[in-house]
């Protein structure tokens, strides 16, 4: 097996080698630039979807533990809906189906936004499940104690339940956050120029399959690992004193 990495410095359009590997023609002139740009897309989509998933997932998780039957039922339905349809199908629903009902979304510039929504809402069901589990592991007395002190229900959540629940569910949320990076690869299906799409397209163009798949796989590794490190750092900083995990 002989590998040739030289093509990374080639111009994607003309095939000519560019000295220094970074052409003046913009972000995607050489294959190396294209790959780094694709990595940027993967990270952008993943992080924004993660943000969306955490916000929406928290709301869903909280209302699933709420004493109101309708709210809890809505949270349940939300979770079942987004958990029982494959992510790829959800991406197609956002990209092909939703704009037919809301024509404003047909703007091609909004494609990235749609895939972020698909990924974010898909993950929100999983995040909601974790947040709900976190709240439910707390002793019932905590909720009663908050209310006995004269706090309203939102105050009880804000000052008593959630500060504990979030710190308990950081480990499962960490693995969901790493999953989001991996799941962002489905964006290839609607031609978002992220890593998986780069891998597919560039390897077909150049026929250098291994030389493209290996760095792309490593970049996924690095991205997920970086999220893991950040999450571990946060986990260590906010450890609940007096628990098994605390020092």
């Amino acid at each position: 097996m002989s590998w040739d990495w030289q093509f990374y410095c080639n111009d994607t359009a003309t095939g000519e080698t560019i000295a220094g590997c970074f052409g003046p023609g913009g972000r995607e002139q050489t294959y190396l630039q294209w790959m780094l740009h694709a990595w940027g897309w993967t990270l952008t989509i993943s992080l924004l979807a993660l943000l969306l998933a955490l916000v929406v997932g928290s709301i869903v998780g909280i209302i699933r533990t709420a004493p109101n039957k309708w709210l809890a039922g809505f949270g349940e339905a939300w979770t079942e809906l987004f958990r029982n349809i494959p992510l790829l199908v959800q991406v197609f629903l956002w990209y092909y189906v939703l704009p037919e009902f809301i024509p404003v979304l047909k703007d091609p510039d909004l494609k990235t936004l749609l895939v972020i929504c698909a990924l974010g809402f898909f993950t929100s069901a999983r995040v909601g499940e974790q947040v709900k589990a976190g709240i439910q592991t707390l002793p019932r007395g905590q909720r009663y104690a908050g209310q006995a002190l004269g706090m309203t229900l939102p105050q009880t959540y804000r000052y008593v339940l959630l500060p504990m629940a979030y710190r308990i569910v950081i480990p499962p949320l960490t693995s969901e956050s790493m999953n989001i990076v991996k799941n962002s690869a489905v964006a290839f299906a609607i031609s978002i120029p992220e890593l998986a799409q780069f891998a597919q397209q560039a390897s077909e163009e150049t026929a250098h399959f291994e030389e493209i798949f290996i760095p792309v796989t490593l970049l996924y590794f690095i991205s997920a690992f970086a999220i893991n490190r950040v999450a571990k750092f946060i986990e260590a900083r906010v450890r609940i004193p007096g628990t098994v995990g605390a020092k």
């Binding site: 349809i85 790829l88 009902f101 290839f188």
Partner: protein, 221 residues
């Protein structure tokens, strides 16, 4: 507002576009479930072994595959399998890819299952004069398997959803069937919606069954 038109949906439509892909999705799910659980159990036993040269490769295999997006795994395997085994066709490659990939997820479930069996059970097996293999076969694995049955089935539902990713290599599965039909009748919105409904009904239905099973098992334990 949009007018949805399902006039093209009839028996012939299902037969010519959907049935073939659906059958492949089911086959892929069942083959990789059975293969994945078998290989996954083996990997879990290796990983729990006290011999480093057994546990280290298993841990490496499982951790590596689990940190790569499935789309990339599919692309990798569809590149490597023909090089190793020659031209065996896309469907066969999909069976191998999904079995090897899902085995890593099943192996983590089986590892938790094996670890949930109390140590006294293992010691009891040895005290009866059983070998390691017999203790595993007759004492530990049946209990581990039973404890983990709901989780294994839930993972199978996830696996069924994952099979839609053979889209990356253009295999004709359930989703592809709907897509091709949508192009053919120029009704992509309708067919994508139908695909979502079909996947939802199957996955939701199965997960309700798993939930009932879980309750049954929970009472006995």
């Amino acid at each position: 507002m949009l007018n949805l038109d399902y006039g093209f949906v009839n028996w012939a439509f299902i037969q010519s576009f959907i049935a073939k892909g659906f059958w492949f999705s089911i086959q892929l799910t069942l083959v990789s479930m059975v293969g994945g659980i078998l290989l996954g159990t083996l990997l879990a036993m290796m990983r729990l072994s006290s011999h480093r040269w057994l546990s280290a490769p298993a841990a490496f295999y499982v951790d590596t595959l689990r940190s790569i997006p499935l789309v990339m795994v599919i692309l990798w395997f569809f590149l490597l399998i023909p090089k190793l085994f020659g031209p065996i066709g896309g469907q066969m490659s999909a069976f191998i890819t999904f079995t090897l990939f899902e085995a890593t997820y099943f192996s983590e479930i089986m590892r938790a299952g094996i670890q949930s069996v109390s140590k006294g059970q293992v010691n009891a097996g040895y005290a009866m004069g059983m070998t390691y293999g017999q203790t595993m076969r007759f004492v530990v694995l049946p209990q581990a398997f039973r404890n983990m049955l709901p989780v294994l089935l839930t993972q199978t539902i996830v696996l069924f959803q994952d099979t839609s990713l053979v889209y990356a290599v253009g295999e004709y599965d359930l989703l592809k069937g709907f897509e091709v039909a949508g192009k053919n009748f120029n009704r992509p919105v309708e067919t994508y919606l139908m695909a979502a409904v079909v996947y939802f009904v199957i996955c939701f239905g199965l997960s309700q069954l798993v939930r009932r099973l879980q309750k049954k098992i929970a009472i006995i334990r």
